[in-house]
């Protein structure tokens, strides 16, 4: 359409490629352009979503109220114990504090909360203006730490210092401070599981698998984790990483500081789940684990494939569009769609990295549109151009898909059903089926009231 072309923003050109059409490198990992209606959140958000699942911590947002309000209980992370993390605490800065500084209020807030909740751990998140008014978070937190004899850790997450990835890094730094041992480390035979936030119990599903193949799990970062468990992180002998976007930095640091090697795994889809279990067993190198892993895979794959086949028969040949937060998730999704007979025709992420986009490029068919930091106008354009039947995305993308009259899958933080592991593969297929094959779409394709009336004759 001529109008659409006229409405294209030239500076976005580098962030969009069509596989096979041109050899140019996709641009990524930069700040969003002003006025492009980016779907991205901010540094604070990145940090908050990573740390928030720590169940027994006080999560205190130092800033004005909005930031805390919009992120209250934002994730469907589950807890097997403490519930403290499900509160949203804020210093609720007002005009006066902006002028005179928010230090006093922050001090008082920490004092009040520690007294009321007896927590061992406090995270203090800085928001946009805290960075500008220059409250010395570090000094305040150190003093509070000493005063209460607990850990008060600043999270340097001022909104304007970068994008969501900078927030992941800020969270990583906070975690590194937390896990720093005060005594020499005694290594154990266990592993840490990084980058699972226990949405709808996903970390629990993976724990069960690991238990079944004889792998001892030390601690999960950060799904259903707590102060004491996290403290023990350095003693693990291997780190496995699910969400690479948020955890690669931390894993790298842990390797450097505590000699814990890491491997990337993915528990999304049958193919990746099976491959990951094999990879973990092989890396740990115990014969019995390898055998048990094969048993588990064989048993679960047979069970799950029988169910999925039914869905695949219905879904064969449909086309999917993907727009999710991180690159690693996007990669897994391509494979997972394949398992249910669906081709990916458009794929993008908010914060994917160069290497991830390369993998994506190798994985998808010619003609697939790949894009970084997209906006509603672009999503609309390419979904329509490519004839996508469904979109995978988060809350903001859902109404767009529906308004375009196409199916939608939630892959967001507040979903209430797990998508990980064999269990998740079934849920995924079922969800795709429930939306793509819903009778709802039939109502839309009729040409309207007029025809409905005359048809009776």
């Amino acid at each position: 359409m001529a109008e659409d072309n006229a409405g294209r923003i030239a500076e976005r050109d580098g962030f969009i490629v069509t596989k096979g059409k041109n050899k140019k490198q996709l641009q990524c990992d930069t700040d969003s352009s002003a006025g492009c209606v980016s779907q991205r959140a901010c540094v604070y958000c990145g940090a908050r979503v990573v740390l928030n699942p720590i169940t027994d911590a006080i999560h205190l947002v130092h800033g004005p109220i909005g930031c805390a309000s919009y992120t209250w209980d934002i994730r469907g992370s589950l807890s097997s114990g403490a519930e403290l993390y499900r509160n949203s605490f804020s210093t609720d800065l007002k005009e006066q504090d902006i002028i005179f500084g928010g230090a006093k209020r922050l001090n008082a807030a920490i004092d009040g909360l520690v007294e009321k909740y007896q927590a061992k751990l406090v995270f203090v998140y800085s928001t946009c203006i805290v960075g500008v008014i220059g409250d010395d978070l570090e000094a305040i937190c150190t003093a509070a730490s000493q005063k209460h004899n607990i850990e008060v850790i600043p999270v340097e997450s001022s909104g304007f210092i970068g994008n969501k990835s900078a927030g992941y890094r800020a969270a990583g730094d906070a975690l590194l401070r937390l896990i720093k041992p005060s005594e020499p480390i005694v290594k154990s035979n266990s592993i840490n599981y990084l980058g699972d936030f226990n949405l709808a119990g996903e970390a629990w599903i993976i724990h069960n698998y690991l238990r079944q193949i004889g792998v001892e799990l030390n601690v999960t970062f950060t799904g259903d984790s707590h102060y004491t468990a996290l403290k023990s992180a350095p003693k693990a002998k291997l780190n496995i990483i699910q969400c690479a976007g948020s955890m690669l930095y931390l894993a790298g640091k842990m390797e450097e500081l505590y000699q814990i090697p890491y491997i990337q795994i993915s528990f999304l889809g049958i193919e990746d789940t099976a491959a990951s279990l094999r990879k973990i067993a092989a890396t740990l190198g115990e014969e019995s684990m390898i055998a048990k892993a094969e048993d588990l895979i064989a048993k679960e794959t047979a069970r799950v494939e029988a169910i999925i086949k039914g869905y695949r028969d219905k879904l064969q040949g449909k086309k999917a569009a993907i727009y999710v937060g991180g690159g690693f998730k996007a990669i897994s999704l391509v494979k997972q769609f394949r398992e249910i007979g669906i081709d990916v025709v458009m794929i993008g992420t908010q914060t994917g990295r160069k290497e991830e986009y390369e993998t994506i490029n190798n994985l998808v068919d010619d003609g697939t549109v790949i894009l970084d930091d997209a906006n509603p106008a672009e999503l609309e354009r390419f979904m329509m151009e490519k004839g996508a039947h469904l979109l995978v995305g988060g809350v903001k993308e859902r109404p767009l898909a529906y308004k375009l009259g196409i199916a939608f899958i939630d892959h967001n933080h507040d979903r209430k059903h797990p998508l990980s592991g064999f269990e998740g593969a079934v849920n995924f297929a079922e969800e795709v089926y429930s939306t793509v094959c819903s009778p709802v779409w039939k109502s839309l394709s009729k040409s309207g009231i007029d025809r409905g009336v005359t048809d009776h004759g």
Binding site: P64, W72, F160
Partner: protein
């Protein structure tokens, strides 16, 4: 009388009962024909607000951001804001652009008035309407942001024109279904009107093809221009401070008589609305409305004994809180706790006047949070909550069932379709309240009687 006004100037907000100013600005601007909004600040603010709005309305909510980064924060955001304007114009071709500021923009002292003025000159677009509103997140809640922005719209668009026959109706943040009901009543009474803002279509648009980035509907710019010549203004903003009152502005600037009324929920408030319309226009009340009123009275009698068992907590935006309080009072539901996270305006005074008939005293809290609301509700043995979704905290922690009303409703579908105004809306609201009370009674009736009276032997 209500207990003394409890203002919580405390150091920590535990679970916010309000959002920040620019959020209100976006909602208001979404009610103006073919308008686009730019949030001047870092990327996260706009994304979070979009997400919240999208969840409530289930509509695509495109909002631009000037995506301020570190550089923009240090050297000023002019370049970013200009670029945002460029891109928004290019992709959306809006008829109006609203710019709301954030904490960050206000703290670094952005002069958006000057920047946009210069922009329009440079682009030779002097006639293009740009509405600016200074809405620092720390300056007030989304409630104040909403009305301030409506006032700014009028300040920048309304002109002195010759007298016309229209009644200006200033609409608060109510559901699209409510707005449509107000319009239906006006049309039944054959009254000419300008409703501002009107997001009944823009944030609740029908499914239709092809999809357009900008939705139809919203208050027409020509109509806003002529509001200065209106017959009178009815503003559903009885709790408002004059400083943010759009109706007061029209009165001061153009001499348009102002009728500041409560949102028409309940018999008395709906009567006031309709009688005021009669007073202003001399029109008669149609038979069908009289019948609706009769049906409401009938419904009220049917339910009054059940309602008398209700002890409720009402929370949310001051204007809605007041309207609901009055309706509860009218029906014998005791407003044990009345609360808002916003500054409250004249709420304190008004609630005091409304609750005099009960044997007990109501507790009123302004600028409060859910931790306080829960504690007060438990102390007052509240058995029903009325307000937005975040009140689910009261259900989870305190077992208080919730009738969802207001903004945001993000854990149920249909927030945009909840009808509560006018005689018919009130009837539906009342049924929701009564039935929630009944449901709760029936659930526990057998066990509670057993516990109370059954004795062995």
């Amino acid at each position: 009388m209500a207990e003394k006004n409890h203002v919580h100037y405390r150091d920590v907000n535990e679970n916010p009962c309000n959002m920040c100013m620019p959020m209100g600005g976006i909602l208001a601007l979404k009610g103006i024909e073919q308008s686009m909004v730019i949030v001047h600040g870092s990327q996260g603010c706009s994304t979070y607000m979009r997400r919240h709005i999208a969840e409530h309305f289930n509509e695509p909510v495109d909002v631009g951001s000037s995506s301020l980064n570190e550089k923009g924060t240090i050297y000023g955001g002019e370049k970013n804001l200009r670029q945002a304007l460029d891109n928004i114009v290019k992709v959306y071709h809006p008829a109006l652009i609203g710019i709301v500021t954030t904490c960050l923009a206000e703290t670094i002292g952005e002069d958006i008035e000057r920047i946009t003025g210069q922009y329009l000159i440079d682009k030779q677009m002097e006639d293009f309407p740009i509405v600016t509103a200074a809405t620092p997140g720390y300056g007030g809640s989304h409630f104040e942001g909403y009305f301030l922005t409506v006032k700014r719209v009028l300040m920048q668009l309304t002109a002195a024109t010759k007298k016309n026959n229209k009644v200006n109706v200033i609409i608060p943040n109510m559901s699209p279904a409510d707005i449509r009901e107000i319009k239906r009543i006006l049309e039944l009474m054959k009254i000419e009107y300008v409703l501002c803002p009107d997001f009944s279509d823009t944030l609740d648009r029908p499914f239709s093809r092809p999809y357009t980035k900008m939705s139809d509907g919203g208050t027409k710019l020509v109509d806003i221009k002529e509001m200065g010549g209106g017959l009178a203004t009815i503003q559903m903003g009885i709790t408002l401070d004059d400083s943010i009152s759009p109706g007061q502005y029209l009165k001061d600037e153009f001499g348009v008589p102002l009728y500041n009324l409560a949102i028409p929920i309940g018999v008395e408030s709906t009567d006031a609305f309709i009688n005021t319309l009669v007073e202003i226009t001399g029109k008669t009340i149609p038979e069908s409305l009289t019948k609706e009123r009769g049906r409401l009275l009938d419904a009220m009698i049917d339910s009054h004994k059940y309602n008398f068992q209700g002890r409720c907590v009402i929370f949310g935006e001051p204007e809605m809180v007041y309207a609901v309080t009055k309706t509860c009072v009218e029906n014998g539901v005791f407003p044990a706790v009345v609360a808002t996270g916003s500054q409250g305006g004249k709420l304190n005074e008004l609630v005091g006047l409304a609750v005099t008939d009960f044997l007990e005293k109501s507790n009123l809290f302004i600028e409060t949070d859910f931790a306080h609301i829960l504690a007060a509700s438990q102390e007052a043995k509240v058995n029903i909550g009325i307000g937005p979704s975040d009140g689910k905290y009261l259900t989870e922690k305190g077992g208080i069932p919730l009738v969802r009303l207001g903004f945001p409703i993000h854990d149920r579908v249909g927030g945009q379709r909840i009808l509560s105004v006018g005689y018919t809306g009130t009837m539906m609201f009342l049924d929701r309240v009564t039935n929630t009370l009944l449901e709760n009674k029936y659930i526990s009736y057998r066990s509670s009687m057993y516990e109370k009276y059954y004795q062995q032997g």
